[in-house]
Amino acid sequence: MSYEDWFRQDRLPHIYCAGCGNGTIINCTLEAIDEMDWKKEETVFVSGIGCSSRAPGYIVTDSLHTTHGRALPFATGIKMAKPGFHVVVFTGDGDLAAIGGNHFIHACRRNIDITVICMNNQIYGMTGGQGSPTTPVGALSTTTPFGSAEPAFDLCELAIAAGANYVARWTSYHVKELTKAVKVGMETPGLSFIEARVQCPTNYGRKNKFKQVLDQVEYLRSHSMLRQKYLQHEERGEPVPDATIVIGEFIKRGRPVMGLPR
């Protein structure tokens, strides 16, 4: 078996724009699932609305394409009704942080045994490039034509504070590390939150001086810093450059878990 067997070959090629990082994240997730030896009948993919949430439509297993921001409540329901099932949630930053923000906090608080993969492209890609809660300060979008003035959301810190059992962040450049992180997240009981920073060449890159897809991937590569290194910087009191993406495993702990099979 390989990750290709999890794709619905009749539905490919998918609708994502050329250079969109979402396809990479789906590859990594399916590769991790393939290594987990899960049965196709016992795996469910749940998603909300958005670019990233089109992903379960290209996967052979059962899937739910639910209302905007409400992927996590639906996933909670599946896990409560069928604790033996493996539930994976694909979601975007607008879906998770803006419209489903409260659901996310409470799913972390309850610590349900699901895996949440957030494809954070820092913008509402599907609806035409509106600014989302994760748009960085100064970034241009349709609703922030003079640069975003609000500080951006750090979803990983939010998940840690709310009580998720496993939190990690990688980018679409770090494919091997992301695959490993998704696998560790699936093995960890409790809510595992993996944030994957992806490039959006059509709506984000075009407005923010990334003419080519490779420019934005290079930006993700050069601006990312491992968490251990970041903590060392913090310890020594050295300033960290602006717009640094802290990557790596943030936390792995054993809080009480809800929804384990009895």
């Binding site: 490919l12 090629p13 050329a18 250079g19 990479t24 897809v213 490779l214």
Partner: protein
Amino acid sequence: MKIEIDESRCKGCNLCIAGCPYKIFQAGKKANRKGILVPLLDRPERCTNCRLRHLYGRVLCGVCLMTCPDQAIRFREERPGETVKVAIEY
């Protein structure tokens, strides 16, 4: 084993060029039937996975495989009787 790019799926984003440590993928120059510049393969026999996968029994690098957002790159076995170019370790 050899690398193959599925032209019906490739959208010409050139992400494989950034990923490959051997720089096997080069930017395409000629548009295909759909008007997409599909990347060219520069001496693909250098690929680690193609050379040593059967020896080690696992996927060795596979970064292009994971990076390709359109699932256009795949490794396939040579057909019986197909000529195989062999590369010496660089």
